[in-house]
Amino acid sequence: MFFTVLMVMMLLAAALQAALPTAWWLGGLRLELLPAFVACGALTLSRYPVSGLALAVVAGLAHDALSAAPFGLTALAYGSAVVAILLLDEILDPELPWVQMTAGAIVAATGASAACAAVGFSAGAVGKLVVLALISAVLTPVVYLLLELFRDWPRSDRGWEKSVDA
């Protein structure tokens, strides 16, 4: 159920990302929400690596479908980043904010690197990559907190009833 909720939220995030205007306070960049969702998916679904990877690939394909990026490029980048996060899962605690921030930054930086490979590397492009990674680092703990609300849904109510009965 959580996976379905995550998938729907991710598609909504992709649509929102495609509707957001560029922000002057980000130097003309647009907020990217998908890397944060992908990172959170990888951290929360670490026991089900295939689900985490599937979420990353679908997020990447949705991203590419709503942009002029070569189709499949972002899916490859997000997938690679999630594999790296899943490999580090044994030694990292996903509850720690700095782990969440690092995961978000890794996903965003990998996606931006893939885009750079397509459009060409330059000093400006590297600067953009760093800013996007920082934005995702900030967004990821916020998205993680938001997803926590849905993690036990719809069982959370029954749990509450049991604790009251006890």
């Binding site: 992709a14 509707a19 394909l61 499949g72 490029l73 931006a112």
Partner: protein
Amino acid sequence: MLGWIIFLGQPITASAKLRMVFVRVCTPFVRLGDFVPVIHSRRALAQENTRLQAENDRLRQLERALTETVAENQRLQQLLHFTGRASLRTVGARVIGRDASNWWKTVQLDRGSDDGVRTNCPVLNADGLVGKVIAVNRGDSRVLLLLDPNCKISALLQKTRETGVVVGSAVAFSRAPRCLMTFVDRNAKIAAGQAVITSGLGSVFPKGILVGTVTDARLNKQTGMYQDVDVKPAVDFTRLEEVVVILGQG
């Protein structure tokens, strides 16, 4: 991963079909955004109706709607005037989404191949040239904006008739987007404020569409053989709402 790389190397039709599936899945979510303001204004109206005089609120709301309709009408009339004057076969479209990425400058339109839109069709609005269509589905299409470095347009300076190529600026961070007109004769006299229009060469863009105005010019640093001209686009790309897609000559 190897399998994925092989997939990326597949003939374009395989990935294009999969892309079309994803566009069809994602576009309804993009269109959801159209309903958000409606829900918001209804809520606001309900709150105001309980607090303030109902008649005044309804009139204010009506006035706002009328102002918006009048403004939209004026924009559409300007568009019709331009396309009618040039005797072009066109179709009007609304912008329903921007590019989800920060690396490409595109927008999504609500018109597709069912409406006659094809790849490379020029797109413009009342202010000037917007870009060209790069991908088409049945009910929607994607437009590469003038600002993207991949969009190259054969252009000329309206007053002096000097020719050049306008490309999107590759500057990563900029509040005011700029374009660059390159390959302009090194001896050409260029003044700020001069209009830049499409030259009609290259057979994609019809001749005479306003691209922008000159803001600065300098000799190319690398070769010194031609001038680079900074061009401020005529179109405000942050406020793109309605556009016209040119389907061909009338």
